[in-house]
Amino acid sequence: MGILERIESEKFIFSVGFELTPNALYKVLLRTEERAELMTSYKAGIITDTMLRCYIQRLLRGFKVGQRFTHDITLSFLSVALEPFSTRFADEFIRDLSKLDVSELSISTKVAKLCLAKRDLLPKTEYRKFVFSTTAIDTYKEIDRIQESVDKSYDRKNYSELAAA
């Protein structure tokens, strides 16, 4: 059984403990073997963002208004497993889940809030690219143009030398 199938199984959910407070559940999930396994698979690219997105969409198909969500623990688990990663998907998933205010997902939304608080202790990185000088780009283009004409003349020279020979 693969890791994604295992974390939605009853065996996993009962091993974690169904009636824990969000704080206690967070601590229990941190120590699970499954978390280490999922993190390794995610890091290695065996489990991708697309796979996780499809997996979560499939779980959410079982959502019924007024009923406790069957996969609440699994979503909590995913928050805890993805918490250390700075990928866009991890950020989006944890942030979106923490913002939800629905009684059916009472545990996972609170666990996601805890994860988000932990993530906020990690540095955020922003990137921006600027072009210093368009003249430099023109210079590069000019170098390429000269190089091209040199190559062509070299080819022609070689060709004429060959022809003369």
């Binding site: 995610y42 890091k43 250390p84 990663f85 700075s86 990928t87 993530r119 906020d120 202790l121 990690l122 540095p123 955020k124 990185t125 922003e126 990137y127 921006r128 690219k129 600027f130 072009v131 210093f132 000088s133 003249t135 430099a136 780009i137 210079t139 590069y140």
Partner: protein, 128 residues
């Protein structure tokens, strides 16, 4: 106002999305060239800012100013950011940096228009 933890100019920089560790490659300290102008394909100015208690939800502008030897006016590359976390890193990548003559190439970082730090690179002529 956020406090600067470090400011370094290098040829490359990356942040590992899995470990969130930053790596800087080839810190730029000195440029030697036989001919001028010389063009640096890429330099990255990396700054790391620490959040102060009153910084939440405020907008800040970190501006990178480059004083190239022989140029009358510096070039400025601003970036706006919010201190959403306790530390915020900025990678300002400059491509095709052109230096026309020997002298000091100065990278200055300003926060909301005020000088915070600078990084000087010595540009020298390499004898043939």
């Amino acid at each position: 106002m956020p406090k600067l933890e470090y400011f370094i100019v290098s040829e490359g920089a990356s942040t590992d999305i899995f470990t969130n560790r930053v790596s800087l490659f080839n810190v730029v300290e000195q440029i030697k060239s036989k001919d001028f102008p010389v063009v640096l394909p890429q330099v990255v100015a990396t700054t790391a800012w620490n959040k102060e208690a009153a910084d939440t939800d405020l907008d800040f502008q970190a501006s990178l100013r480059i004083y190239s030897p022989g140029e009358e006016r510096p070039k400025e590359f601003p970036i706006n950011f919010k201190m959403e976390r306790s530390r915020h890193r900025l990678h300002q990548t400059i491509i095709y940096l052109q230096v026309t003559q020997v002298g000091d190439l100065v990278f200055e970082i300003l926060l909301n228009g005020e000088h915070v730090a600078s990084h000087t690179v010595t540009v020298e002529k390499e004898e043939a």
